[in-house]
């Protein structure tokens, strides 16, 4: 049986992690405790971050909207700072699992776990979120699009924890998160996050590779051409070309590839016909 450690500060947590390599960071527990119960992970200690004040809450700063790593999905799903171009993040939070799990799971836990089929990463990628990481050598910022390095591998090094996610300030333009899932609340078979940016659209695809798929060059080529079906198809084909989907219980790789253009076309249509609440 592992022991529970409850540090009061980020520094205490990272110091403990450096000196105890078999310890695991505990955020909301929605995934880690389930994995432990199933015998999939073992640890010497669980280092709970729930007592660290600096990791809590959502606030507006001059740099943007800062979401503390221990912010629960239910808070993010109900946050009225996340409107317009940032509504995509609020929508993604509200589509995670079900109410009891949204009352437990956290932004930092979900992002650090980097499940390719989970909801936050594509939403954060399409709004150019920044992850702030703390570790034994201090703090550093990493673009969320650089955060996932491979399947379930992230930029987090030994002794490091995710402190917060910072989003740029909201623009008064629509954004949208949609996923294809077998039932409500399941992980995505494929997902699509998009945000209008003037006459361009920012798009990230989820569950079709180790991390969210984005191509800013392709987005610039599509600028001003969103109503042109051929241009949209070419854009979707570019993103599908970057995908590396797998076959699993939620769908085949082939099916996932077929979903990408459909999600993009349907999403663009929804945003242009103002079916999306800003």
């Amino acid at each position: 049986m592992s022991e529970l450690i409850r540090p009061d500060t980020i520094e205490e947590a990272t110091q403990f992690l450096v000196s105890h390599p078999d310890a695991r960071v505990l955020a909301g527990g929605a995934t880690l405790i389930a994995m432990r119960n199933a015998g999939l992970v073992e640890m010497s200690h669980l280092v709970s971050l729930s007592g660290i004040h600096d990791l809590q809450g959502i606030e507006k700063t001059p740099k943007g909207i800062r979401i503390g790593a221990m912010t629960r999905h239910c808070e993010t799903a109900g946050c009225d700072l996340l409107t317009g171009s940032l509504a995509v993040v609020r929508q993604a939070a509200g589509m995670i699992a079900n109410r009891p799990v949204r009352n437990m799971g956290t932004m930092g836990g979900a992002v650090s776990n980097a499940d390719p089929a989970a909801d936050y990463l594509p939403a954060l990628a399409c709004v150019d979120a920044i992850a702030t990481i703390a570790g034994p050598d201090g703090r550093r910022d990493v673009a969320i699009t650089e955060f996932v390095e491979d399947w379930y591998e992230t930029a987090l090094g030994e002794g490091e924890i995710l402190v917060s996610i910072t989003l740029p300030l909201a623009r008064d333009e629509p954004s949208l998160y949609r996923k294809v899932a077998r039932v409500t609340g399941d992980y995505a078979t494929a997902s699509c996050a998009m945000a209008m940016d003037g006459d361009a659209v920012r798009v990230a695809i989820g569950a079709c590779g180790p991390g969210p798929i984005r191509d800013t060059d392709a987005e610039e080529e599509l600028r001003g051409n969103l109503a042109n079906p051929d241009a949209v198809s070419a854009f979707a084909a570019r993103l599908a070309g970057l995908a590396d989907p797998i076959d699993d219980v939620r769908g085949s790789a082939e099916y996932r590839l077929a979903l990408i253009p459909r999600l993009i076309r349907a999403g663009l249509k929804m945003m242009q016909t103002a079916e999306v609440a800003k």
Binding site: R6, I33, A34, A38, R99, V101, T184
Partner: protein, 158 residues
């Protein structure tokens, strides 16, 4: 060997001392050490909802919650709602609609429904389905459960 720790848990309004080990779950503590058997161990992975308890007013999974993190918090199981009007009404409609069969999921369903009706007193059918989507039932096919919650909401609104 992990040493045992003495915790004081506030269950259904009463403080109870219980000895636990490091990172045991609230589900284990409730069932094994406190004899609260209305909280069911189904999947033990946070999927089925049969272990649902209410902590500080919010429904959560007791199988994913560590007992040592529950001190000073208001823990409620179905036994804590004996005098609750909403719960009484939900129970009555669940029986009338046939939303109870084997009963394994029932405590969790009732706690999810009670806390949801506290947040949203007049939900539509789709909202009820969404609110109960974290509680699996292998008997009823759900229709009778959703009927019961909708009927209870209607009666309570009168």
């Amino acid at each position: 060997m992990t040493r045992k720790t003495l915790l004081t848990l506030t269950l259904n309004g009463e403080d109870t001392d219980v000895a636990t080990q490091g990172t045991v779950t609230l589900l284990e503590t409730l069932r094994e050490d406190m004899g609260v058997l209305s909280v069911k161990r189904g999947c033990n992975q946070g999927v089925c909802g049969s272990c649902t308890v209410v902590i500080d007013g919010a429904p959560v999974r007791s199988c994913l919650t560590l007992s040592a993190m529950c001190e000073g918090r208001d823990l409620r199981t179905i036994e804590g709602y004996e005098a609750d009007r909403t719960m009484k009404c939900l129970q009555k409609h669940l029986i009338e609609s046939g939303g109870i069969q084997c009963g394994f999921c029932t405590s969790g369903v009732l706690l999810s429904a009670q806390t949801y009706l506290t947040e949203n007193a007049s939900p539509n059918r789709a909202e009820v389905k969404s609110a109960l989507s974290g509680n699996l039932c292998r008997c009823t096919g759900y229709r009778t459960i959703v009927d019961a919650v909708c009927d209870a909401a209607e009666e309570l609104a009168q």
